[in-house]
Structure formats: structure tokens, C-alpha cells
């Protein structure tokens, strides 16, 4: 099995505090959607932060295409081809939508290519063209999430990591978020998704990973994870997959 990203026995935490991840491991295959589920405090968001360089990896390794990302800053990890959209969407509220999109391509040096890609994004997500001169902070939650996700596509990264993209959104808007994720995979982008709504996340994923107490407990094809009785009982609150 080809591995695009290999996280192995990672130990990480915030500052000098106790470790949140205690040996988490995950293999990411190219072109697939991987959904990480687990109870609150399992270390799901922490794992994404450790991969993207926001948190120091104390032990273990994060190998991306054969290169260890351990010790790299977030801007360096981004340049390797891994984008991260955190829970709070990470927009610049006083910048316009167009300026936010430009920031998405900040690491690109060719301005003409950047503007062309922004035009392409606006074509695929018309709401961003309609709102291009509006400050991002004045848009609705769903529009902000669209902007945050679409912005990552400007760099054409290999992996996009999404931390609870459906958080705080109305059910109808949540489906739009997963539709954008589908667009990403159609473009060949690998998605690493952390989702509190485990049922919804696994339904849209190819591979499921169950994390608890900072360790990987179980992983497998998303459909198997979804129907596994232990997992349904423990982490899906007894919800039955449709």
C-alpha cells in the first residue's frame, strides 16, 4: 500500500504541558479521504496540529514522501504540500474575500499564476466571486467555511487537513462542506478529516481511524469502521449507519 504520509508513534502536547498524543500512528494513502474519529480529548485536533508543525513532535516521526517533517515550521510544512484548515477557519476578518484568497497563495512567487488560480476558484465557487469585495468577517459561517476550504485549493496541495469543518453549521450547510471536500478529492487532493459528527464524517470517507487517549485504537475502511458494533457503541453513540 502506497503511503503519502506516515505518522508513527507520535508523542506531542501543548507547550511544556502533559502529552496529549501518546504514540499516535496513521498511514495516509494518496487520493483518499481519511476520517479521524474519537471522543473529546482523544487528541484528534492535536494530531493535525502536530503534523502541520503548530505543535512540537516530542517523539516519533512524521514522514511525508520519505521526508521527516518533525521540527519544521507550519510555513515550511505548507511549502511541502500540506494545508491545514483549523476549527476556527483561520480567515482574516478585515481582509476582503479576494485578499483572503490571495493569502491562500502567499507562498507562490508568480503573481500572474496566482491571479489565474483565484479566478478559477471564483468560477468554481460563485459565492466567492459575488462576495469578493466583502470583508471575510462579515460573511455567514457557511460562506466562511467555503472560503477557508476553497483557499487551500489555490496552492494545489497534496494533502488538505480539515479540523471539524462542520462545527457550528446548519445541517444544510454541512452537506455543502462535504460537497467541497468531494471537489477536492476529484482534483486529486488527499483529505485528512477530523470530525466530531463521526457518522457524517465516516460516510464521506474512504478510511476511518479511531483515536483515544492519544493513541490509534483501530483503523480500517470507513464502511467497516462505520458498521463495527464496538465503534458504534463507543464513539457513534449507538447511531446506526444508514
Amino acid at each position: 500500500m502506497t503511503k503519502l504520509l506516515e505518522v508513527k508513534d507520535v508523542v506531542a502536547g501543548y507547550g511544556d504541558g502533559p502529552a496529549i498524543l501518546n504514540g499516535a500512528s496513521i498511514d495516509v494513502q494518496p487520493g483518499k479521504v481519511h476520517c479521524i474519529i474519537g471522543p473529546n480529548g482523544a487528541g484528534k485536533s492535536t494530531l493535525l496540529k502536530a503534523i502541520c508543525g503548530m505543535l512540537k513532535v516530542r517523539q516519533g516521526s512524521v514522514m511525508f514522501k520519505g521526508q521527516n517533517l518533525k521540527g519544521k515550521r507550519p510555513d515550511q510544512v505548507l511549502r511541502e504540500g500540506i494545508c491545514f484548515v483549523p476549527q476556527e477557519r483561520a480567515l482574516f476578518p478585515k481582509m476582503t474575500v479576494r485578499e483572503n484568497l490571495r493569502m491562500g497563495g502567499f507562498s507562490m512567487t508568480d503573481k500572474a499564476t496566482l491571479e489565474k488560480r483565484i479566478d478559477e476558484i471564483e468560477e468554481r465557487f460563485p459565492i466567492l466571486r459575488e462576495r469578493r469585495d466583502q470583508h471575510a468577517g462579515t460573511m455567514s459561517g457557511g460562506q466562511q467555511q467555503t472560503l477557508a476550504m476553497a483557499r487551500t485549493m489555490i496552492l494545489r496541495p497534496e494533502i488538505v487537513m480539515l479540523d471539524e469543518p462542520s462545527l457550528g453549521l446548519a445541517p444544510k450547510i454541512v452537506q455543502e462542506v462535504f460537497d467541497i471536500m468531494k471537489v477536492m478529492t476529484e482534483d486529486g487532493i488527499t483529505v485528512l478529516l477530523v470530525e466530531q459528527n463521526a457518522l457524517m464524517g465516516l460516510k464521506h470517507a474512504d478510511w476511518g481511524v479511531v483515536l483515544d487517549l492519544g493513541r490509534t485504537l483501530f483503523e480500517g475502511p470507513a464502511k467497516e469502521v462505520l458498521t463495527d458494533p464496538r465503534i458504534q457503541e463507543l464513539y457513534l453513540g449507538g447511531q446506526k449507519a444508514a
Partner: protein, 292 residues
């Protein structure tokens, strides 16, 4: 009526200089969350550069201004690398910088007083005591030049922030440091450059101040109160807010001085500071603080 117009013009002319003095402070706070209480003492250093260049070599303060900017920017780079960078991720960073820069202010004051004594100085190029007249209204040339140069520098900074790639990085870091880092901005380098630019503006302000006001090492204590009131009224970190506040308070202070006497003029800034903190702590253009 002509008196009122006269006061307005004098207030506006000084407003530009205050705006430049506050812009650097605001930029540094916006990007790095450094409350730089040493900013006015560094303005003082710029003033001494201009003073001695004029006194010893007869070089006009407006000519030496870029040199003062470079000297202060270099000072900023050294200070940032030695002191501010290593603690940038600390949760108590802003609080630490208040104490740290307070200490720096005292050190700079002591060093300047040792080197140049506490004698009042003023740089006196010919235009500093000249004026132009339009009907009954006179405009002091020194203040006019200082106001124009300040506006040009602030406008240049605003355009640079708005349209250049690095300007985008600074604005982004100011609004959301974590997000900027996730999008490829080297926030440490942005912090370094912003700190250097902030101090370069202090150097420019110092060169202008040297012929607009008399100065001596301990005068920075008076200025810090004035500058903090501008930055708080404008909204911490908002350069536009600082500029608007500078012009507004400068004009109001000029009228207060005219009607109630010069002693009360400075009080305008302190009253504004208290009122803003009570009524609208986020200032004119700042963001409302979130409740914990």
C-alpha cells in the same frame, strides 16, 4: 473667526507629527502585541541624531531623516533578535513586554542623559522659525513641513501594507497570526521587519520633533502618555485609528489650549484616554474584546 481657523491649522499641523509618532507604536503592537513603552525614548534618540547632525555638520533634519530611520531600524533589529523574538510564543508575551520596554525606556533615558545631559535642545533650521501668511492666518513652516513629511510617510506605509506581498503578510499576521503562519507566512520574520519599521518611524518622528518641540531625555514620559491615548482611542493596533485619533486629539488640544490655557491642553489627551477606556475600550477602529 480667524483665531478659530488659526487654531485648527496649528492643531492639524501637529496632528501629523503625533500620527507619525503613534503609527510605529501601533504597528508594533498590531503585529507583535508588544506594548512598546520605550517608543518615545527611541523617538528621542532620532531627535538627537538630527540635532547633532545639524549642530556639528549643518545637515538639515529633513535630509538626515532617512539616516535616523536606518539607525533606529537597525536598533530595532538588534533589540528584536536579542530580546523579543525568543519569548514571542509565550502566553504572557504582552504583559512581559510592558515591563521589559519600561525598563528599556529608563535605560535609554539614562544613556541619553549621560551622553547629552538633560539640557533642553531644539534643532533650528531657518524654516523652523519661519511662517507663511494667508490673509490673517499664519502657518509655521516647521510644523507645516513636519506635518507634510509625516503624512507622506504614513501614506507610503499604508500603500505598502495594502498592495505589496509583504504588506499582505503584515496585515494578515496582525489579524490572525496563526492563520498567517498556516498559509506560509514566516511570522517571526514579519515580526522582525515590523519592529524595525516601527522603530524607523520613530526615527523619522524624532528628526521632525527635533525642530518642532524642544526636547530632553526625560521628556519621553510626557510623550508616552500622549501616544498611548492616541493608540487607545484609535484602537490598539489600528494605524488608521491612530492617525484619526492623532488629528482629532491634536485639534481638540489646540482649542482647549486656546480657550483654557496651555496647561490644560495636554490634559486633553489624558481625559480622552480615561473616557475611551471607560466607554469604548476597543477604541474607534479596534475589535471588541471577547468575554472569557
Amino acid at each position: 473667526m480667524s483665531d478659530l481657523i488659526q487654531i485648527l491649522i496649528l492643531g492639524l499641523a501637529l496632528g501629523g507629527v503625533y500620527a507619525l509618532m503613534g503609527a510605529g507604536l501601533s504597528l508594533v503592537f498590531g503585529v507583535m502585541r508588544i506594548v512598546n513603552l520605550a517608543h518615545p525614548s527611541l523617538i528621542m534618540l532620532g531627535a538627537y541624531v538630527a540635532y547633532w547632525a545639524f549642530r556639528l555638520y549643518g545637515i538639515d533634519p529633513l535630509i538626515i531623516l532617512p539616516v535616523a530611520m536606518v539607525i533606529l531600524a537597525a536598533t530595532g533589529v538588534i533589540l528584536y533578535k536579542l530580546v523579543f523574538e525568543r519569548e514571542a510564543r509565550s502566553a504572557k508575551y504582552s504583559e512581559m513586554t510592558v515591563l521589559l520596554t519600561f525598563a528599556f525606556a529608563m535605560v535609554f533615558e539614562g544613556a541619553l542623559a549621560t551622553a547629552f545631559t538633560n539640557t533642553q535642545r531644539v534643532t533650528s533650521p531657518a524654516y523652523a522659525t519661519d511662517a507663511i501668511f494667508i490673509a490673517d492666518i499664519f502657518i509655521p513652516l516647521g510644523q507645516l513641513y513636519a506635518g507634510i513629511v509625516s503624512l507622506v510617510l504614513i501614506a507610503g506605509l499604508a500603500l505598502w501594507l495594502k498592495y505589496t506581498r509583504f504588506g499582505y503578510a503584515i496585515r494578515a499576521t496582525t489579524q490572525n497570526r496563526e492563520a498567517a503562519e498556516l498559509l506560509g507566512v514566516n511570522v517571526n520574520f514579519v515580526g522582525l521587519v515590523s519592529f524595525a519599521i516601527g522603530l524607523a518611524l520613530a526615527g523619522a518622528a524624532g528628526a521632525l520633533v527635533s525642530f518642532v518641540f524642544s526636547f530632553y531625555p526625560s521628556k519621553h514620559w510626557e510623550w508616552i502618555a500622549i501616544l498611548m491615548s492616541l493608540v487607545v482611542l484609535g484602537g490598539m493596533g489600528s494605524i488608521l485609528g491612530t492617525v484619526v485619533a492623532a488629528y482629532t486629539l491634536s485639534v481638540v488640544a489646540a482649542y482647549v489650549g486656546f480657550f483654557f490655557g496651555a496647561t490644560w491642553s495636554t490634559l486633553t489627551f489624558f481625559v480622552a484616554l480615561f473616557v475611551v477606556l471607560l466607554v469604548r475600550p476597543q477604541g474607534l477602529f479596534g475589535e471588541k474584546p471577547e468575554l472569557a
